[in-house]
Amino acid sequence: MSTRPIKVLLGKPGLDGHDQGAKVVARAMMDAGFEVIYTGLRQTPEQIARIALEEDVDVISLSSMAGSHIPFCTKLKPLLEANGLTDKLWVIGGNLPAQDHDALRALGFKGIFPSGSKLDAITEYIRSHVK
């Protein structure tokens, strides 16, 4: 493993404005020693894919609270693939009903952290899964 800190993109997809959770997780990631690029609100799939590529991140993570995670990730997946980002760790958290978890895994999101997940569980997962 390289010596540089784990670099994480934390994005707020779509129009949802509930960013309390995203900001809390961003702080937890910073405290865990990760370098965090927090996008702010209202990112399109194209913006997420572009920032992930430009910033050369190890982890692409999303925080979704308002239910549009499946349509968003469906659009995001081919863009991340086209940018050659399939070897990065894709993680998603937020209001994610259990019935959607298989669909999210099929869309390439290996780490799924529904509301109620512990902060340390998120950072430990990332630390142990980044290649």
Partner: protein, 537 residues
């Protein structure tokens, strides 16, 4: 040998940062400032309530947050709630509507009707409120970034149905400053956003004097990580910013202050919340009287909805949220609120079903019909604990407001992200305290079920058909309306926005010509620009 020591009681500090003693006596009341600010209900400083007879005369309005899909579906849910005894409406809009996008905007894809009702033009409002008596049922619109447009649309809809808008009651949330702190449905930069709030206050003061154009929300600031004392203090700072704008326009304080209202949160420690409301009522009255020279009692009233409690609900053991909700409703009732709404037990997961929304309604109805909460005004008054804590909460709020002033004021602190960074740091600390078990949450960090059973939560389905239907409806309107009239109204809107004139008259013309939310927003963005979010940690 050492004398046996009495076990030390653990020190308790409430969320607002005030120490809670195991016993309060008359001496504590005296030491905290005495009974000077208690007074009588219905009289300055209104600690005990803004009306003398309170719920004996009229119980709180019940106003569950509702709206989803297209206007037809929302209309049915509204009628269901009214048929079940709900006495007001609290309308949820989808995210495209909230941030001023039409349903056929590419950015709206996948979001139409998802978290609220989709609105493009006046036609949608005509459908949404069809068959609902707007005199009997007052309507609250949970809309902020696009509030000026939706207020115009509501007034125009009512006018078209033959109501005299000078007599029309209703509320718009229209608190943009808190959207920058939490919730995030901003559109324009901070300064023009405040100006738009001012336009609505000024217009309503003159044309729709019984309409409440603003409901200042401590609620979402609390959800974003603020303490109860900060929630109320920041809300007052925000309300003062709107009041200052109105006064700069030459409006006398007594002509608009009576139509300002508030939205506060109800989760947390029961006594801390009740004292928050009692303290806040007298502090706001004092601010309006002493700082603004208000003379009418109505200008000094803290009119409010005490509602929701979403931040206190849990994903774990969601059925226990029904019980939490009952305690939150009790807090609302003891706080002397004018309006009540409860998050439903499944709301941590999804849009409430008819079933869960009805349980929330029944919870509030229980307090009225069985529990005696409407019989006597401010029943906790005179308690040594409650009066001491009310005094201490008031002092705490005054300190927080003084800190805001010392740091350059709320507008500056919101624009540069200072407040956002402060409340999100607190939210982080709270989450750490929940994760570690320091801050107890039943079912989350104590009394967990060995195995979470299958939750009795029914997910609200998202219907792609509705979105298509909504887009087709908008395109049909665009084809049928008088597009020359729309263009003229939009040109007038742009000109008025650029010249610094009140945009409400032009918005009224535009909505009546069936201009869409997206078209009107675009004109305003062309003049005002878009907000750039400061990212600060």
């Amino acid at each position: 040998m050492n004398a046996p020591q009495k076990p030390e009681l653990k020190k308790v500090i409430n969320e607002s940062g005030i120490e809670v003693k195991p016993l309060y006596t008359a001496a504590d009341v005296e030491a905290s400032g005495g009974m000077e600010m208690v007074g009588e209900p219905g009289a300055y400083p209104f600690t005990r309530g803004i009306h003398r007879e309170m719920y004996r005369k009229q119980p709180w309005t019940m106003r569950q947050y509702a709206g989803f899909g297209n206007p037809q579906e929302s209309n049915q849910r509204f009628k269901y709630l009214i048929a079940n005894g709900q006495t007001g409406l609290n309308v949820a809009f989808d995210l495209p509507t909230q941030i001023g996008l039409d349903s056929d905007d590419p950015l709206a894809e996948g979001e139409i009707g998802r978290v609220g009702m989709s609105i493009d033009t006046l036609r949608d409002f005509e459908i949404a409120f069809d068959g609902i008596d707007l005199k009997k049922i007052t309507v609250s619109l949970t809309i902020n970034g696009a509030a000026a447009i939706l207020i115009a649309m509501y007034l125009a809809m009512a006018e078209k149905r033959g109501y005299d808008i000078r007599e029309l009651r209703g509320t718009a949330q229209n608190d943009i400053l808190k959207e920058f702190i939490g919730r995030g449905t901003w559109i324009f930069p901070v300064e023009p956003s405040i100006r738009l709030v001012g336009d609505t206050i000024e217009y309503c003061a003159k044309e729709a004097p019984k309409y409440t154009p603003v409901s200042v929300c401590g609620y979402h600031i609390r959800e974003s990580g603020a303490t109860p004392a900060q929630e109320m203090a920041y809300a007052f700072c925000i309300a003062k910013a709107y009041a200052d704008d109105a006064i700069k326009r030459g409006l006398p304080v007594d002509e608009f202050a009576g139509r300002l209202s508030y939205n506060f949160n109800i989760f947390g420690n029961i006594f801390e919340q009740v004292c928050k409301f009692r303290a806040g009522r007298s502090l706001w009255a004092k601010i309006m009287k002493e700082q603004y020279g208000a003379e009418k009692p109505g200008s000094m009233w803290l009119r409010m909805i005490a509602a929701g409690g979403g931040g206190g609900l849990t994903f774990e053991q969601p059925e226990v949220n029904i019980v939490r909700g009952a305690y939150y409703a009790l807090i609302s009732a003891l706080s002397g609120t004018q309006t009540m709404a409860l998050c439903s037990y499944d709301e941590a997961y999804t849009i409430p079903t008819e079933y869960s929304a009805r349980i929330s309604l029944r919870t509030m109805q229980l307090l009225i019909e069985e529990m005696g909460l409407t019989e006597t005004v401010d029943p906790l008054a005179g308690s040594f604990y409650v009066e001491t804590m009310t005094n201490e909460m008031r002092k705490k709020m005054e300190e927080i407001m003084a800190e805001v002033d010392a740091q350059g004021g709320i507008v500056k602190m919101v624009a540069d992200g200072t407040i956002q960074a402060k409340v999100s740091a607190q939210a982080y600390q709270m989450q750490r305290n929940i994760d570690s078990g320091v801050f107890r949450k039943v079912g989350v960090n104590c009394y967990r079920n060995e195995k979470e059973e299958d939750h009795p939560v029914e997910f609200h389905p998202y219907n792609e058909e509705d979105a298509r239907h909504q887009i087709e409806g908008l395109q049909k309107i665009r084809a049928e309306r008088d597009n020359a009239a729309v263009a003229a109204a939009l040109a007038e809107l742009r000109a008025d926005a650029a010249a610094g004139r009140n945009v409400m008259p032009a918005l009224m013309k535009a909505v009546k010509a069936y201009a869409s939310v997206g078209e009107m927003t675009k004109e305003l963005v062309n003049v005002f620009g878009r907000y750039q979010e400061p990212i600060r940690f």
